[in-house]
Symmetry: C2
Subunit: 205 residues, 2 copies
């Protein structure tokens, strides 16, 4: 499900590929992340991935398909971060806080690409192309599902589902908002305070 690749060589025949498939996904993600869809040219993408321009077309399709692949790669990376946090901690609160603090840290890391590919695509690409819409919807649904998973680690079993959904939506909005606030210049301490207040808010009730 993670691969949108069109053309899979049936055997080892023909000239071998001069690029690494994971490097291509990483390059697409980083480039779209840093530049956005419109500003990332195919030359940019070709250079960042190490794959020839024509190869990107042959393997993935058009530019929109490249963004879709990048979005799925980006969302999958967050999935594994959450899974690791759940596996590595004892209490739901620890896992939730650590994932959110890690996001805050990354958003204020001067070496990391600024912002968030999912948020940027959501804000600037919604209702433009049905293929991107679907990919954006999948990425956002996966994000909120991860928040719910972190919340439900030790949730009351008789907690109504609606409450869990509301809390997950609340935490999703907080992370989404920190992305913009960080781009607007909020520093790490401010974001940490936001995380703490948000976690307290969902634990209070």
């Amino acid at each position: 499900m993670s691969s949108q690749i069109r053309d899979q060589p049936k055997t080892g025949r023909g000239r071998p590929r001069g690029f690494d498939e994971t490097a291509v996904l990483e390059g697409l993600t980083q480039t779209f992340w840093r530049k956005g869809f419109v500003d990332a040219s195919l030359d940019d993408l070709s250079q960042a991935t190490g794959a020839a321009r024509a190869s990107l077309y042959k393997i993935y399709g058009d530019k929109t398909d490249l963004l879709v692949a990048a979005l799925e790669h980006y969302a999958a990376h967050f999935d594994s971060r959450v899974a690791a946090a759940i596996a590595g901690t004892d209490t739901a609160d620890d896992a939730l806080r650590s994932v959110m603090r890690a996001s805050a840290d990354r958003l204020t890391d001067p070496d990391a690409p600024p912002g968030c590919l999912r948020c940027r695509a959501t804000l600037e690409m919604s209702k433009v192309d049905p293929r991107t819409d679907a990919a954006i919807a999948r990425a956002n649904a996966a994000f909120t599902r991860n928040m719910a998973r972190l919340l439900a680690m030790n949730a009351d079993l008789d907690m109504p589902d609606q409450d869990l959904a509301d809390k997950a939506a609340f935490l999703t909005a907080i992370v989404n908002g920190m992305v913009i606030s960080a781009s607007a210049g909020a520093d790490r301490a401010t974001l940490h305070a936001i995380v703490d207040r948000a976690v307290d808010a969902v634990r209070a009730t």
Copy 2:
């Protein structure tokens, strides 16, 4: 301070302008809001404003100056919304909630432009041009200042400033996040629940 206009006719001499200045600002704002900076072409802007392409250049400068003017217009509109809420309600909580609920309502109004010009510009135009950076910084600072103003209406006078700043940053992140969540498909009820939880969180301490 709100006007970045370069060329002000000294007298009534010369051919009169065929456009209304407020309509121009409104058209710029709506167009950048709906399409973003890169996708809004000068032809789009000229058509939306009713001002000739050459007139936009003569009066404002280049495309970046047009975005700056739109951002200031957009931020000024929010300023007046907040001022009206403060003038029209008795308690800080009412004013805060009503402003935030109004944002949630607008974000889920199918007839309004989706998203938020300030948020979109912040996410996709940061660190691109010093002029836009300055305008973005002004718009975001003004927004957080408005949140603080709503909070301070009946704040404890001995509340430490840091606490007020943290709460304002928290509420700013919430609104920023609702913008993305709304673009991702969150419905009005979900956003209202987020507003209520956020207001409760800043009132609890």
